[in-house]
């Protein structure tokens, strides 16, 4: 198991390298540059700025320069937000994004697994239909529709919750977290329900019943692990969904995380910021996948011993 973890950790390095390289060149392929939208600046000033940030060098040279910086954990300055380095921006925004994302993952896992398991145990009951409905709505209706709808209902019409903002009161967290969690809850409910139903019907759970263990032990000890493995496997990729979702949700609810920067930076061709956010998000996704694989290995001995 330990060897496996170490091997997987080492595997992170080439993946990050590939991610960095692809993002670097893809970004440069799109037209425009960080200073081309600035109409007030004269051609001379733009040329100066480009020279100052080495943007006049051949691409491969810029790439090597960037790579060298990253190896020393220097992600460069922001081209647009003067006086800030990329690291400053990430350090400032990341705790907020992390809090939002973790809360969303935690809530979607807890609610999703509970609802999905109950739906599987009481098939065709009101709880099953209720969970399925939540599942359908959560998957079918995107964040950028539901988010403003929540704002309108809970914030404007009923005045129950703050419409937007962050950091003044914990109630400000509710709408963004729920918006971010909902599509995941939906997915996890469906996943859990399906795999729990299969697990409850499996031969080894029948054996547990035949041993007279009683329905409770048969479910808790013998059906749950098998039923939850697909959920554990999904939690890795789910972080990718949470992260992309949080870019939208942060924008809608004016949450000062890094998702916000990402959109602006991409539009402004603020290369270094885009790279920094991509690398950070990429690293998180890889880390979460690794984590979910390890948990999977702990639960499933067949994987563990391979």
């Amino acid at each position: 198991m330990l060897r496996y973890v170490i091997r997987r950790c080492i595997g992170v390095i080439p993946t990050m390298f590939v991610l960095m390289t692809i993002t670097f060149f893809m970004m440069r392929l799109s037209p425009g540059g960080p200073f081309s939208t600035n109409r007030k600046a004269s051609a001379e000033i733009i040329a100066n700025l480009n020279r100052h940030f080495h943007l006049d060098e051949p691409l491969w040279q810029q790439y090597l320069r960037y790579l060298w910086g990253v190896l020393q954990f220097d992600f460069g300055p922001s081209y647009k937000m003067r006086d800030y380095s990329v690291a400053d921006l990430l350090i400032q925004g990341f705790p907020t994004s992390l809090k939002l994302g973790l809360a969303a993952i935690l809530i979607s896992t807890l609610v999703g697994v509970t609802l999905g398991t109950l739906a599987a145990l009481r098939r065709n009951s009101w709880i099953d239909y209720g969970a399925s409905t939540v599942g359908l709505v959560g998957i079918a209706v995107p964040n950028f529709v539901l988010g403003p709808l929540w704002q309108l209902l809970f914030g404007v019409m009923w005045g129950l919750l703050p419409v937007a903002g962050w950091g003044q009161s914990w109630t400000q967290m509710i709408l963004p977290v729920v918006s971010l969690a909902l599509p995941n809850i939906a997915y996890i409910v469906r996943l859990t329900r399906g795999s729990m139903i299969e697990s409850i019907r499996s031969n080894h759970v029948r054996t547990a019943r035949a041993k007279g263990l009683g329905e409770r032990l048969a479910i808790w000890r013998h059906a749950l692990i098998g039923g939850l493995l697909p959920v554990v496997a999904y939690l890795g990729p789910a972080t990718a969904g949470i992260i992309t979702g949080s870019i939208v949700v942060e924008k809608i609810f004016s949450v000062p995380g890094i998702g916000r920067y990402f959109v602006e930076a991409a539009l402004n061709r603020d290369y270094t910021v885009v790279m920094g956010v991509t690398l950070l998000y990429g690293f998180l996704i890889i880390l979460c996948n690794l984590f979910s694989d390890i948990v999977y290995g702990v639960l499933d001995p067949k994987v563990r011993y391979e």
Binding site: V205, A210, K211, Y305
Partner: protein, 340 residues
């Protein structure tokens, strides 16, 4: 192994095998029906038999004849669309459709079952030790340490080599034969009065099959456990069983002592089975699949004799009139044409 096959146990000692003693299981008018999208499927009907302590009874019949579902109904494990009617009295207590709490006190303790598929019947996520120990904790109120010692002893008695190490392993680290031994060990842990064994060896290769069968028979005899033994394999029945029940289309065609049935098969279906089985001294095991015609689909629920479409002796009334069971001593027969 011959002197003490199963560890000592604080449970009440089982009744010694006594031929002709009161039956420990008495099944009457058992019928099993499934609700399906296409209507009701009758998997078994009018099934009745007795099993006495220490007896090994073979239940034979082609695939789909209802063997597994009969065992499942006795264990209270029918699928949720299934329903059993009739009666099954186990040691004086009605167990058919008994409340789950009552069944849970019996299942795994005084009656247990070995399933058809050893590869999937153990929990892949838990150590074998956990899966054995929980039975003793549940039914015998043992501490973990006591239960562990007894689980180890039973692993040894089913001849799992290196049991002390293997008990800590997970099921996927066992071969099919070893997994089935674990299942047998699990079923016998509490020295049940009744063991339901559903084709315990079909999934295994031939050399292992014989060993496992002998093992079940040996252990059952030494504990005094009665066994209801489901199989396709007539050779096995002839070797191990005291009595035989021949099932066709969910109904009993013929039953009696093994020596009588094999020495003088009466029912056309039984005769077909025995004729299509290689002779026992040829040391190969015949599958019951070579009688001309197809096994009858259960859902047709024929009015007459279920074997009629394939019977070489059929007469007109076989199609419309169900043959009444004839009885002579331990022998039973349901046929219009053949007399006991």
């Amino acid at each position: 192994m011959s002197d003490s096959p199963v560890p000592a146990n604080p449970a009440p000692p089982p009744q010694p095998a006594a031929a002709g003693g009161a039956p420990i299981l008495s099944v009457r008018d058992l019928a099993i029906r499934f609700r399906t999208a296409d209507g009701t499927v009758t998997a078994a009907a009018d099934v009745g038999f007795d099993i006495r302590a220490g007896e090994i009874v073979g239940l034979v019949g082609e695939s789909g004849s209802g063997k597994s579902q009969i065992l499942m109904s006795l264990m209270g494990l029918l699928a949720s669309n299934g329903h059993a009617s009739g009666s099954a009295v186990f040691r004086g207590e009605e167990i058919l459709n008994a409340p789950a709490r009552r069944l849970d006190a019996l299942r795994g303790a005084s009656m247990s079952m070995i399933f058809q598929d050893p590869m999937t019947s153990l929990n892949p996520y838990l150590r074998v030790s956990t899966q054995l120990v929980e039975v003793l904790e549940r039914h015998r109120g043992m501490t973990r340490a006591e239960a562990m010692a007894q689980a180890l002893a039973i692993m040894e008695s089913v001849r799992i080599p290196d049991a002390a190490r293997r008990i800590r392993l997970y099921p996927h680290e066992f071969s099919g034969g070893m997994r089935q031994r674990v299942m047998i060990a699990m079923a016998l842990l509490c020295r049940p009065a009744l063991l339901l064994a559903d084709e315990p060896t079909t999934a295994l290769d031939v050399t292992v099959q014989a060993q496992i069968l002998e093992l079940i028979a040996d252990l059952a005899r030494s504990i005094g456990t009665a066994v209801l033994f489901v199989t396709h394999d007539l050779g096995v029945v002839a070797r191990l069983c005291d009595r035989v029940i021949v099932l066709y289309g969910g109904r009993i065609m013929e039953s009696g002592e093994a020596t009588d049935i094999f020495g003088d098969p009466k029912h056309p279906y039984t005769r077909g089975l025995i004729d299509s089985t290689p002779r026992l001294d040829e040391r190969s095991h015949g599958e019951l699949r070579t009688i001309p015609g197809q096994p009858r689909a259960a859902q047709l629920a024929p009015m007459g004799c279920p074997f009629e479409p394939r019977c070489p002796h059929r007469v007109v009334r076989c199609r419309t009139e169900r043959p009444a069971p004839q009885e002579a001593g331990l022998r039973q027969l349901a046929c219009h044409e053949v007399r006991l």
